[in-house]
């Protein structure tokens, strides 16, 4: 069984099998576990690693929407066998999209991206100044902490509500999920985006919670930073989906 002993000690290198006369192996300083030489966590390294993880993690999300896009384009051009005439016909029915409503939603999402970015920069400044403010007696004045994060959550929820209203409007116009291939794709793409955005909102709520739990601001900064980039990606993804559905009807 693997032992899981805690080790906080100086150890001399062990001699190895078949050794004999050779100089002992080299072991070096810190690295790999996000800890600096003085034992305190290396937040710079952790942030870099988290951003790398996000970039890697967004790749499958991109692949998911690339798959949906290719299915969409292929289906649009695919002729269907009309059994009555035994000939192939094109049966793609463009959807009557409530584009005004969707445009408003887009504006809400883009604004939320701005507020998200402001929240990200706000906490970056806080994290940068954290060592200074910890010096006893030093004060930078009461920095008014504008609730950019909270506003972003509200705007995000507003976007989701707007998408829900768009679906109601689509249904009112006679386009349900199985009405036609085109309507199926509209619901699919918007729903999948909404699910991913909801995940982002959960991440925002999590970062709000961590502030209440009084985790170190540098750690909170990493959560907000990653969520912010994810949020911007979601906004760009929405713009792409909207453009696809409008332009490639």
């Amino acid at each position: 069984m693997a032992t899981l002993s805690s080790t906080v000690s100086v150890k001399v290198p062990q001699t190895r099998q078949g050794g004999g006369g050779s100089t002992p192996p080299t072991f070096g300083g810190g690295g790999g576990d996000g800890r600096g030489g003085n034992g305190s966590p290396d937040y710079g390294e952790r942030l870099r690693r988290a951003r790398l993880g996000l970039a890697v993690g967004l790749t499958p999300v991109i692949m998911l929407f690339v798959s949906f896009t290719s299915a969409y384009i292929v289906r649009q051009g695919l002729p269907t066998l009309d059994l009555r005439t035994n000939t192939y016909v094109h049966d793609w029915l463009p959807v009557n999209l409530p584009w005004v409503l969707l445009l408003i939603n887009t504006v809400i999402l883009v604004v939320s991206s701005v507020t998200m970015e402001l929240a990200r920069r706000q906490i970056t400044r806080q994290a940068a100044l954290a060592p200074v403010t910890s010096i006893p007696g030093v004060s930078l004045g009461e920095e008014k902490k504008f609730p950019w994060l909270g506003i972003t959550v509200v705007l995000g929820l507003g976007f989701l509500t707007g998408q829900w209203m768009a679906w109601r409007e689509l249904a009112a116009r006679g386009f349900y999920v199985a009405t036609s291939a085109s309507s199926s794709f509209v619901y699919l793409l918007t729903a999948m985006h909404a699910i991913h955005l909801a995940g982002g909102i959960l991440a925002l709520l999590y970062s709000a919670v961590t502030s209440l739990l009084r985790k170190p601001v540098e750690a909170r900064r990493i959560v907000v930073d990653i969520t912010a980039w994810y949020w911007h990606f979601m906004a760009l993804l929405w713009i792409y989906i909207f453009a696809l559905l409008e332009i490639a009807r």
Binding site: M1, L4, L52, R75
Partner: protein, 589 residues
């Protein structure tokens, strides 16, 4: 003089739950994946045994199962494939050994995101439970490939109702789990290598796990997309894959009570069954490379270690794996030559498929070149590595037949195809898992596995699996189709029954032989000879640390790497191996 340093290591968890159930330690998580795969492989083997028995004795009433109906046989076929491909071949080599040894081999104290790592294992576990649940409600009969409309219309056959929904859900969960794992592997490899461990000094096992993770990262999202569309077709009445005007009255016995054409089928319109195939195989082809590439890494590692010689052509091996990975994404159409796909596309895919044979051949030449003028030690891990090369050659060379569309005409969907892919996935990749087990068992458990039992296991399995799968090529050429639950109805299959019987007997013996391994595995954990820290006299970093490795892998220090991974028999060196973190006195590579 070695530098030593006080570094506050990760505090080890206390309590049984935190240590063994919800552990964040990549080593424990690796073991969890491994034992999940072990359960899965015996379940999958059991299913294949039932299939082989039914083929030869179709009217026999088996204990527990009773009469095996055709749909039950097909359920076995589907679940065998799904369990083996996902929960064995995508789990043990990558989630099992990759998780355990990637961080150690690159000199890191853990994976980049330990919590995500734990989540990825438990999601895999839940996926497995959901899949097994399908057995209890009637598992689907549409094969691991799940072609629509058979998989998209619940009335197409028994098990295609709730069973198919559970099957899709299990796979969707597995996609999520794999993606989480891939994220960890890639970030760890890029960001957590110890000082001196450049990419070109990484052991080939690390390169293999890294490339496999990239393949998974790009492929599993597409499978998830296909699964979502399939669930929508099945449950929401959409028509991504289901065309209009389908009629199921031909199958008069199912659904019970008969089928009425006036019901929901006519709601579908305009879907394309080929779209499912494209989405599935865009994932499915990289998936088979995900299954074999880690085994290639292990083979390289072991052939070098046990020949006491550097791997022949390290750079070529890296480039070959990269080429296989990249080309693996542009060959998926070779599964669809007979599908109704454009013959021009077929031509393009076939050229790319022949091209992917080239890096595979290079790797084979290099493995043989590693043994050449080496000094071979026949420990059990090496036996399985040698077996891997032989099986890879055999399975690989039947590929160029299938890759040519004209030759695929007589061979597609015949027994030739399972012959081909079992030799590679069902045997060579499994040999990679066995080799890795025998090799790393001492480091994981502190004991040696029994050599005698290992040799018996090796010879029975090598001869046995060749006896099972080589004859399938002959059966395929003679025209025996795949996925037939009985060979009694089509007259030209009757003369092929004796050879099928031979395969069944070989399967019984081979499966029995695997219990030698199972016994050896568990017995050695308790009673095996105590293992030294480096029993194989190997060079990579896992052999520099204690057995089993401490919680943070290196006991509070991180290694500094001065040498490549395969410095064996270096002229002028005091011993026939130089460990990667030995001081830089010898010529540096």
């Amino acid at each position: 003089m070695a530098s030593t340093e006080i570094v506050h290591a990760h505090a080890a968890p206390q309590g049984f739950i935190r240590k063994y159930i919800f552990s964040l330690d990549h080593k424990i998580i690796g073991l969890q994946y491994y034992f999940l795969a072990l359960i899965a492989v015996f379940l999958g083997m059991g299913l294949s045994l039932l299939m082989r028995i039914h083929l030869i004795w179709p009217t026999a009433s088996l204990p527990i199962f009773g009469d095996i109906k055709p749909e039950t046989y097909l359920m076995f076929v589907t679940m065998h494939g799904t369990i083996m491909v996902f929960f064995v071949l995508t789990t043990a080599p990558q989630g099992g050994f990759g998780n355990y040894f990637l961080p150690i081999q690159i000199g890191a104290p853990d994976m980049a995101f330990p919590t995500l790592n734990m989540l990825s294992f438990w999601t895999t576990f839940v996926a497995f439970v959901v899949l097994i649940a399908a057995f209890f409600v009637g598992a689907p009969l549409h094969g691991w490939t799940g072609y629509a409309p058979l998989s998209a219309v619940p009335s197409s056959g028994p098990g295609e109702g709730l069973g198919a929904d559970l099957w899709i859900t299990s796979i969707a969960l597995f996609c999520a789990a794999s993606l989480m794992g891939a994220l960890n592997f890639i970030t760890t490899t890029l960001d957590m290598r110890a000082k001196g461990m450049s990419m070109m000094r990484m052991p080939l096992t690390c390169w293999a796990w890294f490339i496999t993770a990239i393949l998974g990262l790009l492929a599993f999202g597409v499978l998830a997309a296909g699964g979502i569309l399939l669930l929508m077709d099945r449950n929401l009445g959409t028509s991504f894959f289901v065309p209009g005007g389908l009629n199921f009255t031909g199958q008069t016995s199912f659904p019970p009570g008969g089928f009425s054409p006036s019901t929901d089928l006519v709601k579908h319109n305009g879907g394309s069954p080929l779209l499912w195939q494209h989405l599935f195989w865009f994932f499915g082809h990289p998936e088979v490379y995900i299954a074999i590439v880690p085994g290639m890494g292990v083979a390289s590692q072991l052939l070098s270690t046990f020949s006491r010689k550097p791997i022949f052509g390290y750079r070529a091996m890296v480039y070959a794996m990269l080429a296989i990975g990249i080309l693996g994404f542009v060959v998926w159409g070779h599964h669809m030559f007979m599908s109704g796909m454009s013959p021009y596309s077929a031509f393009a895919f076939s050229i790319m498929t022949m091209a992917i044979g080239v890096p595979s051949a290079i790797k084979t030449f290099n493995w043989i070149g590693t043994i050449y003028k080496g000094r071979v030690r026949f420990h059990t891990p090496m036996l399985f590595a040698i077996g891997f090369v032989s099986l890879f050659v055999s399975g690989g060379l039947s590929g160029p037949f299938l890759a040519q569309p004209v030759i695929d005409i007589p061979l597609h969907d015949t027994a030739y195809v399972p012959g081909h892919f079992h030799l590679i996935m069902g045997v060579a990749a499994i040999f990679g898992i066995f080799a890795a087990t025998y090799y790393w068992f001492p480091k994981m458990f502190g004991h040696m596995m029994n050599e005698t039992l290992g040799r018996w296991h090796f010879f029975i399995t090598l001869v046995g699996t060749y006896s099972i799968f080589m004859p399938m090529h002959y059966l395929g050429m003679a025209g025996q189709p795949r996925r037939y639950s009985q060979l009694t109805e089509v007259a030209y299959l009757h003369p092929l029954i004796p050879l099928n019987r031979f395969i069944t007997y070989a399967a019984i013996v081979t499966i029995a032989g695997q219990f030698i391994f199972l016994f050896n595995l568990f017995w050695s954990m308790a009673k095996g000879k105590k293992a030294a820290d480096n029993p194989w006299e190997a060079t990579t970093l896992e052999w520099t640390t204690a057995t089993p490795p401490p919680h943070d892998n290196f006991g509070g220090r991180t290694p500094v790497v001065n040498h490549g991974p395969y410095e064996y028999s270096v002229p002028g060196a005091p011993r026939d191996y130089i460990m990667q973190n030995d001081p830089a006195t010898a010529p540096v590579h």
